[in-house]
Symmetry: C2
Subunit: 302 residues, 2 copies
């Protein structure tokens, strides 16, 4: 399958590299890493085993790539205003667009620009960071749950699932993408938010009873908003326990939003906080701690 | 009146200086500023007019002072475990102890060590910071509301009120000290907490609609806890407006807790957050935003 990776941060580089290794025809749209990757290829340091791709198709502009079968979108959500410019030239008659971005609202924003039927969402559970140019570090799981924005052809989900599985990624399809997006927010909202605000890794939050309670209370707020969205089935409060256990096993992990703040980048506040808050509010669900966290983050980064 | 000032930070130095200037016999127990003040005296830079006290009674130990008529306590509340050591030697048969400290629980803690009848609380509305050793800067009001812990002799409140008034301090007595303490918390909890967490002055919080709303929501939480404490009359929600207007007139003010954090000192989290939260909880009042702010502050300073 001919694949273009748009937004080649840790997530785009990691999945793109796995797909290329398994035989897919992958093309990377790059900015920061263009020089390093086009001359020396891409190195992946992974808990699943390190590997190198000495030759990588690297580009600076989407026009150089042309139309593809699949666009894999890994952009930071604050760059979503570049969708048209970066993705438009890649889209032909049968092109599918898979966004693996964080938070809510990405599939809907893509559907505004391209056909709703093209849009597939993927919820990625991935611990990965970029290292120096041309390197990506993968520390944890890499699981992806795929779902269509508008349910029209479940068989294409099966084909994509098979492709990711061949590449070594634990992948499954879902009929309720929104539920999976909200499930991921149960983790992302407290940990990305608090770690970015305090500039402390997850381990520091997990080490204190008071911050553990706060994390759990925030998770319960997310779940109450999620369950007001007419999901196929509600998220149970027991999900909080499984997320805490999952995080207790993670070690000294710094969530992407903490790294973004530490490195002076913009934060994904709209996709991870503002849009979920709005979805909650529309259903009359207040999330006082999440509102406060969102406000504090925005104020902290000015 | 023979007065000992214990805890000569900005507050203790400022009120002590005014009292000495008006003719009271003031003795300062000093640590950081001892050398500067005992040799060169004390300089006050105040919006009410600057003045100097070339000669100041300065001491390093309370035993050197001996018993006095009035102990004025301006200690940071995290030093309350030093009450016995610092105040004990100053207390004779008729000594009164006036605490002008922040937050809740100080009168009660003093009453555990000394006689309940000695204890007077004062709620100070003061904008003042210490400068270099031997200097204090006063930028705003200096108002004090005085009340007895156990109502036994209202006339002594009148005498203290008259004394502060002679010294140039707007001062009045109250029959409901607790209500005044809670009123001050309506300001202290949001502004001390948020400014210390974000390391931003009050003006930065007032400049954004989202942080203004957060401040107001926190104030409403304080008021709901206050009004569950059987006060003589409830604090109305209109008090929020008057506190916002008061703060809008303050300019680029950094609350004491922000300065404490910036200068690496301990924060008054117990007196300003933990004890009020506990008083609220005892009456079944949850304060989610204040709990969260307290947790974040503790986590931020480690």
């Amino acid at each position: 399958m001919q694949i273009a990776v748009v937004g080649a941060g840790a997530l785009g580089l990691f999945y793109g590299a796995l797909l290329q290794r398994s035989g897919e025809d992958v093309h990377f749209l790059l900015r920061r890493d263009y020089n390093a990757i086009s001359s020396q290829g891409l190195k992946v340091f992974s808990t699943f085993g390190d590997f190198s791709l000495p030759k990588v198709h690297a580009y600076r502009a989407p026009q150089e790539i042309g139309t593809v079968d699949l666009v894999l979108v890994g952009l930071k959500t604050f760059a979503n205003s570049s969708y048209e410019e970066l993705i438009g030239p890649l889209v032909g008659e049968h092109t599918q667009i898979l966004t693996l971005q964080n938070g809510l609202g990405n599939e809907e924003a893509l559907a505004m620009l391209f056909k709703e039927e093209r849009i597939i969402g993927g919820v990625a559970f991935l611990c990965a960071n970029r290292g120096v140019s041309g390197e990506v570090h993968h520390m944890g799981p890499s699981r992806i749950v795929l779902g269509e924005l508008k349910q029209c052809d479940r068989s294409r989900l099966d084909r994509l699932t098979a492709m990711f599985t061949r590449a070594g990624v634990e992948c499954r399809a879902t009929d309720d993408l929104r539920r999976n997006r909200w499930e991921k927010l149960v983790w992302n909202i407290p940990f990305n938010g608090l770690c970015a605000l305090l500039l402390q890794p997850v381990t520091s939050l997990l080490a204190q009873p008071a911050t553990r309670s706060l994390v759990r209370e925030i998770m319960v707020e997310v779940i109450s908003a999620a369950n007001a969205q007419q999901l196929s089935k509600p998220i149970s409060n027991a999900f909080v326990d499984s997320m805490m256990e999952f995080t207790d096993r993670m070690g000294e992990y710094r969530p992407s939003m903490q790294i973004d703040r530490e490195e002076g980048r913009q934060l994904e506040i709209t996709a991870i906080f503002k849009i979920p808050l709005e979805y909650g509010q529309r259903q009359g669900v207040r999330m006082p701690r999440i509102e406060m966290l969102s406000t504090l983050l925005e104020q902290a980064v000015g």
